[in-house]
Subunit: 123 residues, 2 copies
Amino acid sequence: MTDPVTEDREQGQTFMPKFDAAGLLTAVAVDSADGSVLMLAHMDAEALAKTQETGFAHFHSRSRGRLWMKGESSGHVLQVQAILVDCDQDAIVLQCVPAGPACHTLAPSCFYRRLEGGKLIRI
Amino acid sequence: MTDPVTEDREQGQTFMPKFDAAGLLTAVAVDSADGSVLMLAHMDAEALAKTQETGFAHFHSRSRGRLWMKGESSGHVLQVQAILVDCDQDAIVLQCVPAGPACHTLAPSCFYRRLEGGKLIRI
């Protein structure tokens, strides 16, 4: 059985993002052209609001402890076309048009290696 | 400039997963048929090892504080075909063949709603 709050969170129309103890939710940026995963980062309420307001992906840097817009220095911004929300509302998918390589290493995606036999193989 | 450890982590062949303070990394399960995002969950070292050992996705439940195999009660397991690792090795993508709906709500994916005008619309 599902309690009414969980039922509402999972089936309802009300957006009630569930931030974790650090005030963050996980965001997966995917390329809206082919659905491939570009990068993963975290958002606090401020980053989420900025993303919705501007249409460009903003995140909260855990290492730097601040808001950042993806591409703010490189120019490789992510234009957000749609935001999908998961069942328990603690994770979102950003369907994006990337303005360049999504990874700071200049790879198109951060996921450029496959684990094979304990080794990482570039794909 | 990139320091040698970071350089090795980002460009090398050595798998050195970077678990967070809680001992977890983030795993994004995608459908290997079309690349769509199915679900997002967390793995500790044990869950990662079990996934590699068995070929079925295992996670660490933060709420229940234990290892679980996705589908252990529903039968809706995720057969892992490949594991991709991101630049800083704190997130992975699991390319999976799902044995049924990936979401516990019986939706094919946990991301079954789109945020539109502040409301969640079922897709």
